[in-house]
């Protein structure tokens, strides 16, 4: 492992103005040096179809034996042009598009966009809606971390974790189906609140799930925490210094595992996160093991948040009252002409947002997910850009893997938790 960042060819030394030739054999060869046969590199192509890359990620890996000397990620294999499509749709219709970016944390995608539009509109979200949003987001965080845990353990060889985690994941999806009607990509958050109130029985099912979840997490930790193989593979692997991570713009569990206690839910609380009592797990070393522990502990904290949310769920409307932005309730459509007109305008044209720009960052399971929206007074946004955490976190993969074995590359990729839908958008 290396302690500092590898020198990149093309850097210019501040004192002398000379161009730096990087130390990796690729850069030295490019600078004209002839390497001996024992230093020849073998470049292989990892993916885009590969069982261990989490999605269609292509890595060009230059190996010297089994040691990784250079790494170039090639992305774009699931680029969907979501941001371009959003410019063509009214704000309401953008929500399903934006949801499908980072496809494991769909509630977070929705929250980023909807929060941004609410900021542009200066619209207040009623407290019940805010609590419901937090509830669903934290359940989604548990869900995302469970899928991560299952697939990462699968990559490292612990196949039974996959089945356990997916069993629990299906219980969470049952809860989503109960409250929103759809397992994934629920289109539940709307500008102004949430689409529908939670039904009867949801609280009961949720509490039953929450009662069991900590025990389940204990069981998962019992499998992996002190497992010798897991420790061998993850301890001191993929360490990048905190300063380098901050320089690269990395956020989320990777940064917290490296020791930086940065979580947007605590630093700049949005929605109603300030009402809840929870902790932020922070690691020390920043290796794969710390990232694993941070995420599992985050699941526990999310369970706490959901418990508090469902206990303290305030009464009231689940969506704002502003009829210019929010659909009127259906029973009013048969009695009130105004409601009918509002409904018609909202469905056909959509609501108009006054001109402006806003950036709304939230803490998704992978890091800082921000939505930047530019509005020009019409019913369609001019620009919707999502700052995706996986896109920026992927830049740290090179630093993590260089100098390590190729098996450590798999582990680093697993602990990085990239979601290619978010990277490629």
């Amino acid at each position: 492992m290396h302690e500092s960042a590898p020198a990149h060819g093309g850097d210019v030394l501040a004192e002398t103005g000379e161009e730096v030739i990087g130390t990796s054999p690729i850069e030295r060869t490019a600078a004209g040096e002839t390497l001996g046969p024992e230093q020849e590199l073998f470049t292989i192509n990892f993916g885009p179809h590969h069982p261990a890359t989490h999605g269609v990620l292509r890595l060009l890996v230059s190996l010297e034996g089994e040691v990784v000397r250079d790494l170039k990620p090639v992305v774009g294999y699931v680029h969907t042009g979501i941001e371009k499509s959003c410019e063509d749709k009214s704000y309401w219709k953008v929500i399903p598009f934006v949801e499908r970016m980072d496809y494991l944390s769909y509630f977070f995608n929705m929250e980023a966009f909807v929060g941004c539009v609410e900021r542009l509109l200066e619209l207040e979200v009623p407290p019940r809606a805010s609590y419901l949003r937090v509830l669903h987001m934290e359940l989604n965080r548990i869900h995302s971390h469970l899928v991560w845990l299952g697939t990462s353990a699968l990559d490292l060889g612990a196949m039974s974790m996959f089945f356990y985690c997916f069993r629990d994941r299906d219980r969470i999806l049952d809860l989503f189906e109960m409250s929103t009607g759809q397992r994934m990509h629920t289109r539940y958050f709307q500008v102004g609140g949430v689409f529908e109130d939670i039904p009867l029985g949801f609280a009961h099912n949720l509490k039953a799930f929450l009662a069991e979840m900590p025990t389940r997490l204990d069981q998962y930790e019992a499998i992996l925490n002190r497992n010798e193989i897991f420790l061998e593979r993850t301890r001191n692997v993929g360490v990048v210094s905190r300063e380098r991570l901050l320089d690269l713009g990395v956020t989320g569990p990777l940064l917290r595992a490296a020791g930086e206690p940065w979580d947007l839910r605590k630093v700049t609380p949005y929605e109603s996160y300030a009402d809840f009592d929870f902790n932020i797990p922070v690691g020390t070393v920043g290796d794969g093991y710390d990232r694993y522990r941070v995420r599992v502990q985050e699941m526990r904290e999310s369970v706490r948040i959901v418990e508090q949310a469902i206990e303290g769920l305030p009464e009231g409307p689940w969506i704002a009252d502003d009829r210019k932005v929010v659909l009127p309730p259906r029973d009013e459509l048969s009695t009130s002409m105004e409601a009918l007109i509002h409904h018609f305008k909202l469905v056909t044209e959509g609501f108009r947002v006054p001109p402006g720009e806003a950036y709304f960052p939230i803490e998704s399971p992978r890091g800082e997910l921000g939505c930047f929206t530019v509005a020009d007074g019409s019913a369609k946004p001019v620009r919707v850009h999502i700052r995706d955490p996986s896109f920026v976190n992927l830049q740290s993969l090179r630093d993590q893997c260089i100098g390590g074995y190729i098996a450590d590359l798999i582990q680093n990729l697993a602990m990085l938790d990239p979601i290619l839908g978010g990277i490629d958008r």
């Binding site: 179809h49 699931v78 969907t80 979501i82 496809y103 089945f163 397992r183 839908g421």
Partner: protein
Amino acid sequence: MKREKLRAHAPLEEPPAPTDLRVRQLRARDLLRGDLEGPELEQQVEESVLTTTMHKAVGWGRANSIFPATFGLACCAIEMMSIVGPRYDIARFGAENLRASPRQADLLILSGRVAVKMAPVIRRLYDQMLEPKWAISMGACSSSGGMFANYAVVQGADKFMPVDIHVPGCPPRPEALIYGINKLQRMILGNPDPGWRRRYNAYGTEEWAREATGEATPEEIEAYAAARERAASHEASRSVATRGGRG
């Protein structure tokens, strides 16, 4: 306790019922040795031997041991992973052995949106698979471009590769995907489930954008008529047991 109940219903003095496992085993052994005669032989053959054609037997083998390729593109991949999970268990249908290498896989489940950059890669993967091979287009995005009608998504994977089953949904529930795999299994077995075209009497309504004239060419008219006739005769000769339409 179960043994006492059995003794109560079938006391040992009576000869054991022919369905008793041990009796069947001994009868089968006798059959193979050639010791059975007459009506016993006929009964045993009726009960334990089935005849079929080679094609059907091979089809049965292929259908019940599909090796899907681990090929996930986007959100549908998560639902595809959950059919391997314990609740929607695809091992019930013999397809739990997901192979990473396309050379070892039968079934390519295109789960997710097909980006323009990815299309040649998928085509190459499909070409690397060995015959017989099938493809399921899972979800709206790979069937038809889904909600992404833009420059970056191929509007349907069947623009560049043959697809056998399209599973609608965004994402389809795991049960829907399993239903699609079951349909594929019936296709492989040789009695494809024509599904809605049969239910709604819609044979001959297959469409394609016609070239300049807008009139149906004589070949098309003939193809339509032949399709209707085939459907009618297929309907008539279909036996009760294979009537599909359900999951």
